[in-house]
């Protein structure tokens, strides 16, 4: 269990945060995801299957939370208390966080986690075209918010993070 937790918990937490924009909710969602994982009794064919299952559960639980009246009426927006390296970094972060949840989540999965449209579509139970459209709209909104292109440098971004 510990290995599984260590392997996925940051990704789950960040995806949960991308949905909720709230640390406490992201932590709770992360906990619930792993409790489901540890108690579901599933064995997975491969690591990629397990990853997909975990991310999909995260998405579903996050969507449930966003739909709840408790969330809509009571959860205050919070800042992530991130120390940004530059004003531009802060601006981009907040531009993404100000997107509607479905858009910021797909931006997160596509650019940050590096999943393909096909993989994101499977996680969300949507068609690839639907995900492409969401990406399209998200980038359109980002461009509007940032006043310039939200440059598509997915691969270089991932490579840069992976060092």
């Amino acid at each position: 269990m510990e290995q599984i937790y260590d392997k996925y918990h940051e990704s789950v937490y960040r995806l949960a945060y991308a949905y909720t924009k709230n640390r406490a909710d992201a932590e709770d969602l992360t906990s619930e995801v792993f409790l489901k994982r540890f108690t579901c009794g599933k064995s997975f064919e491969s690591e990629s299957h397990e990853t997909a299952w975990i991310m999909r559960v995260t998405i579903n639980l996050a969507k449930d939370l966003l739909r709840s009246f408790r969330y809509r009426f009571t959860v205050p927006l919070e800042d992530a208390n991130i120390i940004f390296e530059s004003p531009e970094e802060s601006e981009v972060w907040h531009a993404v966080m100000n997107l509607p949840a479905k858009y910021r989540s797909v931006i997160h999965l596509y650019y940050y986690e590096g999943y393909s449209v096909t993989e994101i579509a499977k996680m969300n139970g949507k068609s690839e075209t639907a995900i492409q459209t969401q990406l399209y709209r998200a980038r359109k909104l980002l461009k509007h918010a940032l006043g310039e292109e939200f440059t598509d440098e997915k691969n270089s971004a991932i490579l840069q993070r992976n060092g």
Binding site: Y5, Y13, T30, E88, V92, W93
Partner: protein, 605 residues
């Protein structure tokens, strides 16, 4: 440069609290997991997450006496408050179910609500449960045959703050059962309060149960069961079980025309879906709290299949007519649900549109502003007199003669033409089909021409000219019947890349990228004259019709250098997709949300 790396770099700094790890592992090992009772609906509660980090150690649960008679505050208590104004004294004398309902609406709108809810509920006293940290206490139930609000207090017994309350979220849930149906709580929360202040040591909370059965709560021998869910309890504990017999005002369902073609649009994926069209909502009732809609029951192969979605971020107005002077008033709907329930081979679709403020039905007629022409002839196009909000409330079906691009498809395997979207996408839901119907209505006014040839359907083959160029023209030629609907077309190919014509750069990308085009960029809002295009890679030419006001014919042409386009292979060859967004705009020309997105999927020879 504002690049994606900056988002990634910032996200890298967001770290999960290491302290959570051991907590989760311990709970998993103990299998001591709090999972709140779920409603079995799509949008059911998601509070389980909030419970997971709760202290699962010791504690005790007390279930106090219940169902005691209403006891308004003692007069001496009120009189002792010598600073009270007369108005406050009057407010304090209100039954709790009136006071809390007014408080709810006041918080919702920010404006004082003095609607007289007398007769719409009852108070409770002593119905509570607690552990060593929290006490939850049912205070009142307010509502009618179609919706119930229940109000309860959550008291922190150890001085916990708002964050701790959110984290553990002790609460009450409710369901109404009888007549073969059970209606669960649909949502709950604290009464909106920006300051999160405690009142008399407690947070005022509420929950709501919406009637999805089609039979009224108070006239069908139904019972309401309220349960307490506090952090130290593994299961919700029944706190009250009350027969629903304390509201006498009736709001019977009607099949009269007016609202019986209600549907609601939600945005899922690439555009708006219309829910409530198949089956149609044939019955409705107007109440002070909102409107309930039901379809006729229908046969289904499902033994058990329930689903609903809320209205999301969308809102709309419903107009009512004053009985006194015939003037119209609009009531905002910013909250509601739409869904279906299927059981033992029978299903019913329902929707509840909650008013933002209560409606006094003694002053306003429940006759809708919705034009009845659509109700009588739903297969025709909408009437020209519709208000700007009516696209939420009137179904629009494709006329039989519409050359709809999404309907005119070809089977990708054998090339045979197919006529319906259900043929092309066999797994489409009813809602998705409704979306395509919506597309069909407006697509009659759009032509897509490539190298002068009008395209009829998706999957159609196109060829660049001898210079490897594609000359693409979108033509929007609305006629008088859509003149007053204020629909504008917004051609917005994907603006993802700095280079406007780079295509298929990443895996899975198959949307052509053309310099974005905005209608407002090209037409002077005052003179309605075309402004010369400023975007270097788009050649736009419009010919506004001065007699058509907001509904002008438009042509938009672009040239695509196919040598710059990196197409992604699809099973049938190289694929090119155009996305066209349609907006509804008000009379000032300001944009509203995209009402649907049209997609042209073409194969390049």
């Amino acid at each position: 440069m504002k690049r994606i790396q900056q988002y990634c770099s910032a996200m890298d700094k967001l770290r999960h609290d290491p302290a959570c790890k051991q907590e989760v592992l311990n709970m998993a090992q103990q299998k001591h997991i709090h999972v709140t009772k779920r409603s079995g609906k799509i949008a059911g509660t998601a509070i389980a997450a909030a419970l997971l980090a709760a202290n699962v150690g010791g504690g005790y649960l007390l279930l106090h006496g219940r169902n005691q008679a209403l006891n308004p505050p003692a007069a001496t208590e009120i009189e002792s408050e010598i600073e009270l104004s007369a108005a406050t004294e009057e407010a304090a004398a209100l039954p709790c179910y009136v006071d809390r309902m007014q408080e709810y609406y006041t918080a919702l709108t920010g404006e004082p609500c003095d609607f007289d809810f007398t007769g719409f509920g009852r108070d409770f006293e002593g119905v509570s449960a607690e552990d060593e940290d929290w006490r939850v206490e049912l205070k009142a139930v307010t509502g009618c045959d179609w919706v119930l609000y229940y109000f309860y207090d959550v008291t922190p017994l150890k001085g916990q703050n708002w964050e701790q309350f959110q984290h553990e979220f002790p609460r009450m849930t409710a369901e109404v059962f009888g007549g073969g149906w059970t209606d669960h709580f649909e949502g709950y929360g604290t009464i909106p309060d920006a300051e999160h202040t405690l009142e008399d040591g407690a947070w005022h909370c509420y929950g709501r149960v919406i009637n999805t059965s089609g039979t009224p709560f108070f006239r069908a021998d139904k019972t309401m069961c309220v349960r307490a869910a506090i952090p130290t309890s593994d299961t919700d504990t029944e706190a009250a079980r009350e027969p629903l017999d304390f509201v006498s005002t009736e709001y019977p369902l009607t099949e009269e025309t007016g609202f019986n073609n209600f549907f609601h649009e939600v945005y899922i994926g690439k555009g708006a879906l219309k829910l409530g069209m198949d089956p149609k909502m044939t019955r409705y009732a107007v109440t002070p709290f909102g409107m309930i809609f039901f379809s006729d029951s229908y046969e289904t192969g499902n033994d058990q299949n329930n689903s609903y979605t809320d209205f999301g971020e969308q809102s709309f107005d419903i107009t009512f007519t004053s009985i006194a002077d015939g003037t119209a008033t609009k009531v905002a709907v910013k909250d509601g649900i739409i869904g279906y329930r299927e059981s033992a081979g029978t299903g019913i679709e329902y929707s509840f549109a909650a008013f933002e403020r209560p409606l006094d039905l003694t002053k306003f007629t429940p006759e809708a502003n919705v034009q009845t022409a659509e109700a009588e002839t739903p297969e025709t196009e909408p009437a020209a007199e519709e208000s700007e909000n009516d696209f939420f409330a009137v179904p629009r079906k494709a006329p039989a003669d519409v050359p709809c691009v999404v309907y005119s498809a070809r089977d990708t395997q054998n090339g045979e033409p197919i006529d319906s979207i259900a043929d092309y996408y066999p797994e489409t839901t009813l809602e998705e089909r409704a979306q395509f119907e919506q597309v069909a209505v407006y697509s009659r006014y759009v032509k897509l021409l490539v190298n002068g040839k009008e395209l009829k359907g998706i999957g159609e083959e196109i060829s660049p000219d001898e210079n490897n160029m594609l000359n693409v023209t979108f033509a929007w030629t609305p006629d008088e019947s859509v003149k007053n609907q204020n629909i504008s077309i917004d051609i917005l190919p994907d603006p993802i890349f700095a280079d406007p014509l780079v295509y298929g750069k990443s895996e899975g990308e198959n949307i052509v990228s053309i310099e974005p085009y905005q209608f407002k960029d090209y037409v002077d809002p005052e003179t309605n004259e075309v402004i010369p295009p400023s975007l270097p890679d788009a050649i736009a030419a419009f010919t506004p019709d001065p007699t058509a006001e907001n509904c002008v014919p438009m042509r938009y042409s672009i040239q695509i250098d196919m040598s710059q386009v990196n197409l992604t292979e699809s099973p049938r060859g190289k694929q090119l997709t155009f996305l066209v967004d349609y907006h509804a705009a008000d009379t000032s020309g300001s944009k509203k949300d995209v009402i649907f997105c049209q997609e042209f999927i073409l194969m390049v020879k």
